[in-house]
């Protein structure tokens, strides 16, 4: 504790934004607005090239939120070449909630197509209770979970690069790409 009775926070003056966090909607958002401040919807400090901005989809065309992540069985795109890891997680899949699966007539293990404005992948559907629809600003929002790891050759079954779907956005300070929130549509393959 400092003599004045409060904590201190130091930040470099080299930052483009911050140091306090602020909520912005992702550039591809299921909402038309930012529920916290409608005037500034997405991050004004983010790095986006003009042409990339043209490749953003809208919630009308691509109604579902997608996110990408890793699995414990694989490390990035490397371990597909390891037989044991390939046995433990052999084939590309995406996770969807039961509600969305029902709406789309998708059953466990069906092959589905996931599309964004930038590209498409095909993968097996893993229908799960762990992903539920969220109600955001009075609207049901479904999430599609997309593990990376596939694409390129390996000992697993062949798959698609998850990053054919993701948008080209770099965050204001360190250019971390916005791969955790974007819009897609899905259907049975």
């Amino acid at each position: 504790m400092n003599p004045e009775g409060v904590a201190r926070l130091f930040a470099l003056d080299k930052m483009n934004e911050g140091p306090f966090p602020e909520h912005y909607e992702p550039f591809e958002s299921p909402l038309d607005t930012n529920p916290l401040h409608a005037k500034v919807v997405s991050n004004p400090a983010a790095r986006i090239f003009k042409d990339d901005r043209d490749s953003f989809g809208t919630a009308k065309e691509f109604p579902y939120v997608a996110t990408t992540y890793r699995l414990t069985e694989h490390f990035h795109f490397w371990t597909k070449h390891t037989r044991t890891a390939a046995v433990l997680q052999p084939e590309q899949f995406v996770e969807i909630g039961e509600d969305l699966a029902r709406e789309k007539g998708i059953r466990q293990g069906d092959k589905i197509v996931v599309r964004s404005k930038r590209g498409m992948i095909k993968a097996k559907a893993l229908v799960t209770k762990r992903i539920t629809a969220l109600t955001v600003a009075g609207k049901a929002v479904h999430t599609v979970g997309i593990p990376i790891h596939w694409g390129f050759e390996g000992l697993t079954r062949p798959g698609y690069l998850a990053n054919t779907l993701t948008p080209f956005v770099g965050d204001g300070n360190v250019q971390t790409p916005e791969f955790k929130a974007f819009l897609v549509d899905i259907e049975r393959a």
Binding site: T84, L88, P90, Q108, G109, K124, V127, T156
Partner: protein, 303 residues
């Protein structure tokens, strides 16, 4: 083949006096389900140590891969999504042999020495003596042993008897990053399990329990289940037992029944002979038609 540093206490389809020069500790593997993150490091370690490579399969809409135990998969992480007390639980169970104190597999096995139980509690299959009848599969209350089609022999987790014999912990234990798996004497493992229960009870898992089913005399793989009142939710039988039929099998009842049946068949045979006399072969009639003259059946012109 027995391991020199492990004494054998029971052997399938054999009666023998177990060696008694030394006493061994009963060992146990403790699987604390509440700590498991489902990373499958144990499953990979089992494949590595035991030189097992299952086929690269397909995803059937589940994290459980391969889809089942097999001659190449001796331990398998099974994933279940269950609603328990109003909240969703992602249950992850490390499936594999429990190394029962009264192993149904061993009791059911008719091949001498194909299944042995070591004095430390490990139940081991000695495949060179296995005749591939699959009785152990029906004898096991946990659905563990798997028949390999290619060699008609049955395989399952050995509790890494080869490692334990030289003072190492099993491969899966060594690989686990969360200490969900531990190995030691059964006594210390049970004490550790009790300790975990206290912790889980404090954290609100009031039904947490130790799974060491007494219906099979207790096991040498013991689970700590956060929802211990519902082992079925984890795919484990609630009250496993080796079944009344199996208990009769190889007991004096079945043996006397066997001897009685043999005797009865003999007596019946003698009476039959006295009444009916010897069996007469009917004389072969000469064949007509397109045979080859040596009794082989006629063949299609196309073959």
């Amino acid at each position: 083949m027995a391991l020199q540093s492990l004494d054998i206490k029971a052997r399938s389809a054999s009666t023998f006096a177990p060696p008694s020069a030394r006493t061994t500790l009963e060992v146990a593997k403790l699987i604390d389900v509440s700590r498991c993150i489902g990373c499958k490091a144990c499953q990979a370690a089992c494949m590595e140590w035991n030189d097992l490579r299952d086929a690269v399969g397909v995803n059937e809409g589940s994290y459980t891969n391969p889809p089942d135990l097999s001659d190449q998969t001796w331990t398998l992480m099974r994933f279940y999504e269950e609603q328990i007390q109003g909240s969703l639980q992602w249950l992850i169970l490390k499936d594999g042999c429990l190394h029962c104190a009264e192993p149904g597999c061993l009791k059911a096995c008719p091949a001498p020495g194909a299944i042995v139980q070591h004095s430390n509690g490990i139940v081991d299959f000695h495949e060179e003596s296995c005749i591939g009848c699959g009785y152990c599969i029906s004898g096991c209350p946990f659905n563990i042993p798997r028949l390999r089609k290619e060699d008609s022999k049955v395989y399952k987790c050995t509790l890494c008897s080869d490692r334990v014999a030289v003072g190492l912990e099993p491969a899966c234990i060594k690989a686990c990053p969360t200490q969900a798996l531990s190995f030691g004497s059964k006594e210390t493992m049970l004490a550790q399990a009790e300790h975990r229960l206290t912790d889980l009870h404090e954290r609100g898992f009031t039904k947490a329990a130790v799974y060491d089913p007494q219906g099979v005399g207790g096991t040498h793989v013991v689970y700590v289940l956060p929802h211990g009142d519902r082992p079925e939710a984890y795919g484990l039988p609630k009250d496993p037992s080796i079944g009344p039929l199996l208990a009769v099998w190889r007991s004096w009842v079945s043996r006397s029944l066997g001897v009685f049946t043999m005797f009865a068949v003999l007596v019946a045979g003698v009476f039959h002979y006295m009444k009916v006399g010897p069996l007469e072969e009917p004389r072969d009639e000469p064949r007509d038609g397109p045979g080859d003259g040596q009794g082989r059946p006629p063949r299609d012109a196309s073959s």
